[in-house]
């Protein structure tokens, strides 16, 4: 019941908040509830077996028998950290939004918790339709979050976000249904279970686009690529990020983008091994182009938030590159980079939100000399910048190193190009840092009528966990990778006949038991 409670507790919390009578304590309540959720999610470790390759803590019931759709949740090394990332970020986001969200507080927190359920469900659902329900559901609260609490062009941004992602995922739905029929053909029993999907042998013909596996592969890949977002379907992201309120940006960058890369790991690569191998060059190319393109475009953005948004495009390009390297380094690095990006870009958005609350501007050219005025803020910003540009001993380095190593092993040419991202990443971040924090004091910083005040205790409390994670993950990556190693190795080595088993000490798989009787 652990996974169910992790997924659906937030929904319960959302209801609780919706009926909570006192408006002035909603924030405290939400913070407390999100912390409870985090603690509950930590309890996974009590039962998690890091050495097992299969699905653990499985919960499996028939939901829609007619179509073999199951209520099926499970966790393994791939989803473990993403789940924890989600539960870890939520209390931080709620605390960070303490003063930035001033109206419709109740609605905001309800959205937040529904979103949490949707994201956790996406990571844990092991049934295609069950997964799709969460996947699409996650759009709705995000849509409201950007649309209601966002900036000036919020409506354009949020509609663009919704339509883009929706357009990507509908073809996936068709593909899922098609695969359900394939399972029926193969076993006589229709099923939407991911485990049954894995067992399918989908015919693949190289050299043509119109082979079944390739078509299904692209139907899935498009949905995930838009979510990632990979070049050239990334343009919804900058708009969504810029217009989203701080918590929205954080959750978007921190968790929602990972739903795309997670989709590649969980769905695309093991389901369509031949096609993904055949088209790996394309996705490595997309990843590489994304890295360079995102970095170049980030460099010339006049708006800090847009800069960070494009940097996300660049960072997510790394992850895509790593995943399609098809070796333990690339995959492991990719998974690790997902967490890193969640932490560091999330923190960057929080920081930008903090300064925006003070000056109500994100225009780089209006800043300057901030380091002298807000030293604590500067220190935090600098640490996160380091993490973002992957300086060793911060988390970013570990992920980037492994990704590039894996890429080099898979195809050196891509590594040669991708490595330029290391330089360009430093260029856009440090150039921005220089223009905002160094030099003479800009018009916003100088303003004597409204002297800027440095971070208060709450804001420091928001950032400290992030900074701790930056260094913890940078110095002791094994603490994290050890839990994922078995799953990643299994994925890498058994890609072409991927077959997750259910590992659940003490519990008996019902269908299996029947077979024995």
């Amino acid at each position: 019941m652990i996974l169910s409670s992790i997924v659906f507790l937030p929904l319960l919390f959302a209801l609780l908040i919706a009926i909570w009578p006192k408006a002035n304590t909603i924030r405290h309540l939400a913070l407390g509830l999100s912390l409870i959720e985090f603690l509950v999610s930590l309890s996974i470790f009590k039962h998690f077996d890091a050495s097992a390759t299969g699905l653990q803590l499985v919960e499996k019931f028939m939901w829609i028998e007619r179509f073999g759709i199951q209520y099926f949740m499970g966790i393994d090394g791939i989803s473990l950290w993403l789940v924890l990332l989600t539960t870890f970020l939520t209390p931080i986001i709620i605390l960070a939004s303490w003063t930035s969200i001033t109206e419709r507080i109740k609605g905001f927190h309800v959205c937040m918790f529904i979103l949490q359920t949707a994201m956790l469900g996406t990571f844990l659902a092991m049934d295609a339709i069950f997964f799709y329900v969460f996947w699409e559901l996650s759009l709705v609260p995000m849509y409201f979050m950007v649309g209601i609490w966002g900036g000036a062009r919020r409506i354009y941004a949020t509609v663009k976000f919704f339509i883009y992602t929706m357009a990507g995922s509908v073809l996936m739905l068709v593909a899922i249904i098609y695969m359900m029929y394939l399972t029926q053909e193969a076993t006589g029993q229709m099923s939407a279970s991911l485990l049954d999907f894995y067992k399918l042998q989908i015919p693949f013909v190289g050299g043509t686009f119109f082979s079944l596996q390739t078509l299904l592969f692209f139907a899935f890949a498009l949905a995930f690529a838009i979510k990632v977002p990979a070049f050239p379907v990334h343009t919804w992201l900058p708009d969504a990020h810029v217009e989203a309120p701080t918590p929205g940006s954080v959750i978007l960058a921190g968790v929602m983008l990972k739903m795309g890369t997670y989709g590649f790991m969980r769905w695309v690569i093991p389901l369509f091994p031949e096609a993904s191998e055949y088209w790996a060059w394309l996705f490595m190319l997309i990843g590489t182009v994304g890295i360079i393109y995102g970095a170049l475009v980030a460099m010339v953005q006049p708006d800090v938030k847009k800069l960070v948004a494009y940097s996300s495009v660049s960072h997510m390009g790394y992850i895509l590159l790593g995943l399609f390297a098809f070796n333990a380094y690339g995959m492991g690095g990719g998974l690790y980079q997902m967490l890193n990006h969640g932490i560091s870009t999330g923190a960057l958005f929080i920081l930008i939100g903090m300064i925006y609350e003070r000056t109500h501007s994100r225009e780089i050219s209006k800043y300057g000399g901030l380091a002298g005025v807000l030293p604590i803020f500067t220190i935090f910003f600098f640490i996160i910048t380091l993490s973002s540009i992957a300086v060793p001993m911060t988390n970013g380095f570990v992920g980037e190193f492994f990704i590039l190593l894996g890429t080099y092993q898979a195809n050196p040419v891509f590594a040669y190009f991708a490595v330029s991202g290391v330089v360009l990443g430093a260029v856009y971040m440090l150039w921005m840092f220089k223009r905002v924090f160094f030099g003479e004091q800009g018009e916003l910083v100088k303003d004597e009528h409204h002297p800027l005040h440095d971070l208060n205790a709450r804001e420091i409390a928001v950032l400290v966990p992030m900074v701790i994670m930056v260094f913890w993950m940078g110095l002791f990556p094994n603490h994290f990778l050890n839990y994922s190693k078995a799953s990643i190795d299994y994925l890498v080595n058994n890609r072409s006949n991927y077959n997750l088993t259910i590992v659940q000490p003490g519990a008996v798989d019902v269908t299996h038991a029947q077979g024995e009787n």
Binding site: P232, V297, G332, G333, V391, F401, Y408, A426, F438
Partner: protein, 643 residues
């Protein structure tokens, strides 16, 4: 004490200093902050000495103290420990870093005491020492890379220390980004080596080094070592990535002494020496290194002649001297390179600190045209500076003489060297003698050109004591590596240096002993030319100050070219950076905004267009509706009837 504890103290003492000073970043007391930082480094220095003493007491074979704290990064076959090793090579480095580091910290107490951000300054300085120690102690390329990037980061922070000045902040950024270019190549080098050898550990890599030289250009070894060398050109300011170092003089002068002369910039040389069994088997790489080194040595020296900022002169001199080290490495003289690295650390640190003392005494004046005759105001600074000067121009029996001449001898005689490389080295030495003498002449000697408002004064003891210690080292440090050709005339003085490093250095393939006559002739050439050059410079700048101007006037185009540093910065800006920014702007504008987004809009417009068509046929006239029905029926029927 056990080694891991000592190692931990050695590495972590500066880090603790950093944390303490970092926590009190708002405090203004230079003495407290400085003392904390200096003590931290001194503790490191003591631990280093203890470790080295232990190391010496070990038998020559297997002389190595290795400590591994924890497994750092591990996926699949890739396993890297947070492991550190003290052996013959890193022993030298940790002594130099912590030793010179302590002196520079001490000097900084005096130099920085009036600065508001002094606590921050010392925090950065300690952090630098910490990272530098990681760099030299790391037992694998990856751990080294941690320090490698870490020192770059500290360099960034310290160059941009006075961040309110836009130029200085920009200089810091330039340094970091230029270094990053090298670092990216370094990463690629690591990948190549890991894919080829399956490890990044130095001792394992060196053990796995092939026994036959690789002659192709795209072989794994050549490629890997070339990438690593590109990394080194970034960190060690070689052509084409040297441009950041002169700008790095924007930082406080002790920083220039510590980071940009004595320690960090030599990391590239250190890295190559560490991996010398690999490099020696990649002759193509070696050739590239030697050529780049020699070219840098000459190129930077010519620029040094025309500079008027005391620190800029020293900066170009550093670039030039680093070129020597790479020349040495490139011809296989790894021992000589390390030797020059050490002596250079002493005399260049001394000169930088001396210049700091001058600047301090001149109230932040750096232009040597506004100095002159400072000898009488700053006697100690002057004397110590003279020691450095003598060392750098290669005055016999001073430290620089031994190291430089060993390099030149190898350049001439090594199978990997050539007379051309030697000639370049000699030209470099001659130019060095010229511009260093010019610096001395314009700063300390001759008539005073100090403006009447400025009252130069000698610095306090806390600043002069480090100068004196470094001066002594500059003079005598060379004696531990006296070549046989001289040593045999000095009572068969042994070459300690060579013996110490011998187990770590791979022999040059095809090396034959150099005969003494050749060695004397070579020595004579370089010393003679340097002497002549120094005398000419003295004549020019002390006796007849008008001559240089006239000469400059007569070769104006050349002078302008050199004076403007060959317009390299401008070329980089015009040829790479600005086009890149324009490209980015255009990419954003044309691809993102005007293409991808437009496509989305087009799709939207298409849908809307269809919608307005549907609306336009929805006229409200019900007979028209009836007609649609009629047409629909007729069309459907005729289609259906066709079977």
């Amino acid at each position: 004490m056990n080694h891991s504890l000592l190692m931990a103290i050695l590495i972590l003492a500066p880090f603790v200093g950093f944390l303490i000073n970092g926590a009190r970043y708002k405090k203004h007391s230079g003495n407290v902050a400085g003392s904390i930082a200096t003590v931290a480094v001194a503790i490191s220095f003591i631990s280093a000495i203890l470790l080295v003493v232990d190391l010496i007491s070990m038998p020559a074979e297997g002389r190595r103290i290795a400590v591994s704290f924890f497994e750092w990064m591990a996926i699949d076959k890739f396993k890297v420990n947070a492991g550190f090793v003290v052996d013959q090579i890193s022993a030298i480095m940790i002594l130099v870093i912590t030793g010179v580091g302590t002196l520079i910290h001490l000097f900084s107490i005096g130099y920085m005491h009036h600065d508001k951000g002094v606590a921050k300054y010392f925090a950065y300085l300690n952090l630098f020492i910490f990272n530098m120690l990681l760099l030299v102690l790391g037992d694998s390329l990856l751990v080294m890379f941690v320090g490698w990037e870490g020192v770059g980061l500290c360099s960034y922070l310290l160059i941009g220390f006075w961040f309110t000045d836009k130029e200085k902040a920009a200089a810091g950024m330039k340094a970091f980004i230029t270094n990053r270019i090298g670092d990216a190549a370094f990463l690629l080098g690591m990948f190549v080596l890991f894919i080829t050898f399956g490890t990044l550990n130095f001792s394992e890599l060196n053990a796995l080094a092939p026994t036959v030289a690789e002659s192709t250009w795209l072989g794994a070894l050549t490629l890997g070592t070339l990438f690593l060398f590109i990394g080194a050109t970034g960190k060690s300011a070689q052509i084409p990535l040297y441009v950041w170092l002169p700008d790095a003089m924007a930082g406080p002068t002790p920083v220039s002494a510590l980071i940009h002369a004595a320690t960090m910039v030599t990391a590239g040389v250190y890295m190559i020496v560490r991996l010398n069994p690999l490099f020696i088997m990649a002759p193509n790489t070696m050739m590239v290194i030697a050529i780049i080194g020699a070219a840098t040595a000459v190129f930077a020296a010519t620029i040094g002649i025309t500079q008027n900022d005391i620190k800029k002169v020293l900066a170009y001199s550093t670039v030039s001297q680093l070129g020597y080290m790479f020349l040495a490495v490139g011809v296989g003289a790894f021992g000589a390179a390390m030797f020059h690295l050490m002596t250079h650390a002493f005399f260049k640190a001394l000169m930088f600190l001396g210049s700091g003392s001058v600047i301090h005494g001149m109230h932040e004046e750096q232009d040597i045209r506004k100095m002159g005759g400072l000898k009488k105001y700053m006697p100690i600074t002057h004397i110590t500076f003279v020691m450095g000067w003598l060392a750098i121009i290669g005055t016999p029996l001073f430290s620089g003489f031994f190291s430089k001449d060993e390099i030149l001898a190898y350049a001439f005689h090594s199978p990997m060297g050539s007379p051309i490389l030697w000639a370049a080295g000699v030209v470099g030495a001659t130019l060095t003698a010229f511009y260093m003498t010019r610096l001395m002449a314009l700063t300390f000697w001759g008539k005073s050109r100090v403006s009447p408002d400025v009252h130069p004064h000698e610095s306090s003891a806390i600043m002069t004591i480090p100068l004196i210690i470094l001066a002594i080292l500059s003079v005598f440090a060379g004696w531990i590596g006296v070549p046989h050709v001289i040593g045999e005339h000095l009572g068969h003085m042994p070459n300690f240096w060579e013996h110490w490093l011998h187990p770590m250095i791979s022999p040059i393939p095809g090396w034959t002993a150099i005969d003494h006559t050749t060695e004397w002739v070579l020595m004579g050439c370089s010393v003679g030319l340097a002497t002549v050059s120094a005398i000419v410079a003295y004549q020019f700048y002390v006796k007849s100050p008008e001559t240089p101007k006239k000469i400059a006037e007569s070769i104006k185009p050349v002078y302008n070219l050199v004076n403007n540093k060959y317009f390299v910065d401008e070329a980089y800006f015009g040829g790479i950076i600005n086009p890149l920014i324009n490209l980015s702007k255009n990419t954003w504008y044309y691809i993102d905004v005007n293409f991808i987004d437009k496509m989305t809009f087009w799709a939207g417009d298409l849908v809307r267009g269809m919608g307005s068509f549907v609306r336009s046929v929805q006229t409200g006239n019900m007979q028209q509706y009836a007609m649609y029905i009629g047409i629909g029926v007729v069309v459907a029927l005729s289609f259906v009837i066709m079977r």
